[in-house]
């Protein structure tokens, strides 16, 4: 991201799979951290610590990020963002997303974990296209 500072924008959509234990809760945790201005910090932590995303671990990570833990756990336990997460899931289904991660780079669908070089190639193509 840093390499393209100012020219790139990243948007996160949640697509927690139905049959995994902590998927939905981890998305709730990211959004609960967002409430306290720490979405990207939590986002990076979750990606790094996955799949260790049980409730106690999430609270531990929130503590490490200096979040207000009562507010955080109230939000996660109350599934405060389930509406937004469900909306993202519906959008994923509508867009025929069947794997994660799936990227839409200026609307171009790229499915699955790809080497950074591959994503970079598409980003470069898009940057060139804009200049035309």
């Amino acid at each position: 991201m840093k390499e393209y500072d100012g020219r790139l924008r990243l948007v996160i959509k949640h697509y927690p799979y139905k049959y995994r234990d902590f998927s939905h809760m981890a998305s709730e945790a990211a959004m609960a951290a967002r409430e306290q201005g720490k979405f990207w910090e939590m986002h990076r932590t979750l990606l790094k610590k996955s799949p260790k995303l049980d409730r106690n671990s999430l609270i531990k990570y929130a503590g490490e990020l200096g979040l207000d833990l009562k507010r955080f756990t109230d939000s996660v336990d109350g599934r405060k963002y389930s509406k937004l997460i469900e909306r993202d899931k519906k959008l994923a289904v509508d867009l025929d997303v069947y794997n994660t991660p799936t990227f839409f780079i200026n609307g171009r669908k790229v499915i699955g974990n790809r080497p950074y070089e591959y994503l970079k190639m598409i980003i470069e193509e898009e940057l060139k296209g804009v200049k035309k």
Partner: protein, 50 residues
């Protein structure tokens, strides 16, 4: 390769490239965003943390 096979291959390859070139409209709504609104490239990532 015979002509029909080549023709089939041609249609297959063009179909694949059209599929890749399709551009989807993905609403951003109030999802978390990093980077400026006027960025030349927008990446929308669907992810599962687990």
């Amino acid at each position: 390769m015979s002509k029909p096979v080549l023709l089939l291959l041609f249609f297959f390859l063009t179909a694949v490239s059209f599929a890749e070139e399709r551009r989807y409209v993905v609403p951003i709504e109030d999802s978390p965003v990093y980077g400026p609104q006027g960025a030349q490239v927008t990446i929308i990532e669907f992810l599962d943390y687990q």
